[in-house]
Symmetry: C2
Subunit: 167 residues, 2 copies
Amino acid sequence: MERFENSAEYSWHVCMSALMLKDYANEAINIDRVIKMLLIHDIGEIDAGDTIIYSSETAELKSAEAAGVARLFAMLPEGMSAEFLALWNEFEAGETPDARYAKAIDCVPPLLHNLHGNGHSWRAHDISQEKILGLNARIGLGSTELWHVIRKQLEEAFEQGILNKAL
Amino acid sequence: MERFENSAEYSWHVCMSALMLKDYANEAINIDRVIKMLLIHDIGEIDAGDTIIYSSETAELKSAEAAGVARLFAMLPEGMSAEFLALWNEFEAGETPDARYAKAIDCVPPLLHNLHGNGHSWRAHDISQEKILGLNARIGLGSTELWHVIRKQLEEAFEQGILNKAL
């Protein structure tokens, strides 16, 4: 099918990845909280739209997502709304073991899509090797082991010209 | 977008539904197990294909799904593979509180799609009112309260001819 993965498909994909890779987390994590965090982490995109990660972390887009999250969670019973909002903020801040691992895994599926798809979205959006390595280094904050393997694959792909060196 | 929801989108959708409706479960449930169960419950469709529930519960299709599940889970580390397979079988059997609730919620999103979409897939597949009420009665096994509300909506829709009475 010639289209990009949407946020719902992606959310399932990233939850499955987190579940399968949980033993590689750097710190002790609560995988159930991580899954819940990842189920809801992109819900702001219903209102704000979906952008690739390299251009999504602007103040403007983050505030549109936060407004979307607030609008949607306000429809839920109060306790649930507060719980989900706290989880969403915890993910965004990325300062707890669960959030560090969740944010690490959030980088993995799009990176693998690109690695095995000749860097298609990196090319389309003109993302430099430096940016690719820079942003994805956050994988190491959640899982040193995973980042070690992926970094090596990335460098080999750059070396072999599988990804355009001039990117 | 003029297409049906696929299994990945649906799996996210049903996990979110389970999370939001958890307080309506008949029995004490472990929502984290339910979410895990629902994340993986349709994975057999990668090999077996996706069919509407009214025609999916045949011995042939179930065995194709079971074969797909066995093939995919065999790629995982042993402990994880055994855990996921046990969860998948528990869901299929539907005999524990977690599985009863999960199977109940598994009926809800497609039913709401049909209720709010003039019964499109029920019409397309020629599903009778009797079959609709019969299959979805399993919602009551997981949540009497939810089935009470949904059954009423279904009967009103049949009454008002929103769904074709002659279905």
